[in-house]
Subunit: 457 residues, 2 copies
């Protein structure tokens, strides 16, 4: 491997130059004006995959922006990696808050600034260069690889689910690798092994045909704004525990080793609280903050609307009241089961003085890879070799829908092997990527292929 | 009195003709374009007061629209009536829903249709004509009278409170008469002896500096939308009883005779529920609907706003949550006392996980005249003589701030002697006044002066 690592170290300037070219393409999938740029970026990506030595490069139509596909399948007996990433980027508004133009990559103090630097062009380019280093210096990869790069991640991966289902057999592999997430903290490389799911609803209560004068009618009828408060208040107790019967039945308990690992992380609760501007932190009793956001389910009010909300005083009894509510789910909660027990409980606690409509707006499964999964262990060793420090194993509170798709449709575990930093402004002005992490990431990626190659395919 | 009554009966056409002229002046106080019309209407009112034989007629500047004043003070030993009404009217939008033009009074099927017909020109004109009949036919009034007609009632009586305070001694009297409210129902003349007061607040809760992603942060901090629901839910129990400690301490219990009188009223609860479109009626246990809206205090949510309220699903933990809430008060609750115990309780039940701001937006005292007050009894006899049927004694759930002003500043009881009907569209298109009630009202007004004249001033 020495020649591979040396090659990477001596290629720094060439990498930055090519990445700058890649970042110059404004492949903003959300804006119709950039449809040609997105197409150009797909072609650039395909050309690059050919240049680094991958095979069977092609653009696959999806009904939306194309998926760029490539593979290298000459390691018989070794596992097959399915690498997933995206070549589209977020819009750049507000443009006036950028220190340098978003599509003219600029290096300042060891960081490369541009839209897409960390999300996700910089991180997929890191793998392109790892593949290149292996192929150019050793003539082969230690694993089989299939790569799919999509162009709609920033608009909800509209066509990806269908694409994966339509190409199920062609995408057969042993493990998925995604580099599209931050590490835990600066200098703390990490491997994310769990994500939460989601169950999202709108609740609409109606009390009367129209708003009523609170003087003339106050006292005679239920007030849907108040009933909504009563109903929502019954969803969690004072200690922050969700009261929906059966809600915790399928929650996989945190393992002692997970709790110990989380407790060892460099997490400053006081700083976290101050950064959020919260008077105090609050969550489910007997769990730490990291346990609460990574490994425990929640019930949240996302929105409330009823009656008069302008300046001053209007003496109205609202006719209707609306709430958006959602639950974050953890393994092994099922969104459909949760939706059913939630709706049943909601109907039970809503009084007959109002009519109730409940709408399911969104659902997504939680996801988790076992810590003792051999791919997870292999990735841990690769990160330690590449970054000189053993990774922390963390979970995330949010959702990445494609991870569930890969698990459900292809039956594959996923490695979330991200080298971004939490403050690198993905989706914000002055997006950037630390070049040290970028280079270490290329090296760690070659180790990752090597470690996975040692496993049985 | 026979000549007076005969005079009234034979003047019907002349009354309608003059009222039509009065109603033709678009004295809309809310619209700057009509400032000249309002001034013209004040002059017309003053001229009319002179024509009917009242004395000391003048316009008194208030800083806003003038108050029209007149008096007749030649009944030594008899009580003095302070008559209050207003010559301004509501806007007429939506104009296309009027069957005939709002400022061209039109008689159809015994009703006169025009903006101001019932609220309040028609009802004050009724007293002008009662005064005229007495003075023209008998040369005197059986009571002393002072009349004040304001031009800002429809915009919140901005300057009336100051006017009454500034002219406290000139307005000295024994009783206030206001004809600006409906009777209980068609064919059911009534005398309203109680109104509810009001205490209105805005509650603002803040959890964090900005909205948070409910995946990344859900579980770590309190959700102000949920906390707001928890806090509001603690304001009333399941039986509809307000839980603020001390809230009911000063509530004057309903007398047995009041409850019996309310129970005798022609009130169809099923029809009332159907008209409102409510799945069922709901209110404080052990009270009837009329008792709940007239004689019991309430706690209402008037508005709610927090987080994401658009279409679809946005996974946000709101930074802030806002509620407008108000309490209707009954004698002898004091708005200031209620505000204090409410704020104390609110602060006690709001957890320290959020910051709380509470703003007092409005307060108004409840009002009630004793049923055995001799003026109330006199008015009852006058209505029975004028309408051929003893009035029902009712209360109202809303507030009329000037009634509190007359009680507080001048120490006067008020008679709410209204001859409108509940469906006469005050503030709505096709406002109207029943001409039978108008004529009976003129006659009943002369009896009212006579009955009050029998009391000691």
């Amino acid at each position: 491997m020495h020649t591979v690592i040396d090659f990477i170290h001596t290629s720094r300037d060439r990498y930055i130059s090519a990445l700058t070219e890649y970042l110059a393409i404004p492949s903003i999938s959300a804006l119709p004006d950039h449809v040609d740029d997105v197409a150009r970026c797909a072609r650039w990506t395909a050309d690059e995959l050919g240049r680094v030595g991958l095979e069977n490069v092609r653009l696959i139509e999806t009904g939306g922006n194309p998926v760029v596909y490539a593979d290298w399948l000459h390691a018989p007996g070794a596992p097959t990696i399915l690498f997933y990433g995206h070549y589209d980027v977020q819009p750049v508004d507000p443009l006036d808050q950028w220190t340098s133009p978003p599509f003219e990559a600029t290096v300042r103090a060891g960081e490369i600034y541009a839209r897409g630097a960390v999300d996700d062009k910089g991180q997929i380019f890191m793998h392109f260069k790892a593949v290149e280093a292996c192929l150019k210096q050793t003539g082969r990869l230690p694993v089989n690889m299939k790569l799919i790069l999509e162009g709609e991640e920033e608009i909800g991966s509209t066509h990806l689910d269908g694409f994966v289902r339509d190409h199920q057999s062609e995408l057969a592999a042993n493990v998925v690798i995604i580099s599209d997430s931050p590490m835990f903290d600066r200098g703390v490389p990490s491997l994310c092994y769990g994500l939460r799911g989601l169950s999202y609803f709108q609740i609409d209560l109606r009390g009367t045909t129209s708003d009523l004068h609170s003087g003339s009618f106050g006292g005679a009828v239920a007030n849907p704004g108040f009933v909504l408060a009563q109903v929502l208040a019954q969803m969690k107790d004072r200690a922050g525990r969700v009261k929906i019967p059966g809600f915790y039945d399928d929650v996989r308990p945190l393992l002692d080793e997970e709790r110990e690992a989380f407790a060892r992380l460099p997490f400053n609760e006081q700083q976290y609280r101050t950064d959020l501007g919260a008077p105090r932190l609050f969550g489910e009793r007997d769990y730490t903050t990291l346990e609460r956001v990574w490994a425990r389910p929640t019930f949240e009010v996302n929105g409330l609307l009823s009656g008069f909300t302008g300046d001053g005083a209007k003496t109205v009894i609202p006719a209707v009241a609306m709430a958006k509510v959602s639950m974050r789910l953890v393994p092994d909660q099922e969104p459909d089961t949760i939706a059913e027990i939630f709706e049943t409980y909601l109907r039970k606690v809503t009084p007959k003085t109002v009519t109730l409509d409940v709408t399911r707006l969104h659902g997504g499964k939680p996801w988790m890879t076992e810590l003792d999964n051999p791919f997870v262990q292999a990735a841990g060793r690769a990160i330690e070799r590449g970054f000189g420090r053993a990774p922390v194993f963390n979970r995330e509170g949010g959702s990445i829908p494609v991870v569930s798709t890969f698990q459900e449709v292809l039956g594959l575990p996923t490695l979330l092997f991200g080298v971004g930093l939490p403050d690198e402004n993905a989706h914000a002005p002055n997006e950037k990527l630390n070049l040290g992490n970028f280079l270490n990431g290329i090296i760690a990626s070659t180790f990752l292929y090597e470690e996975i190659g040692k496993l049985t395919g």
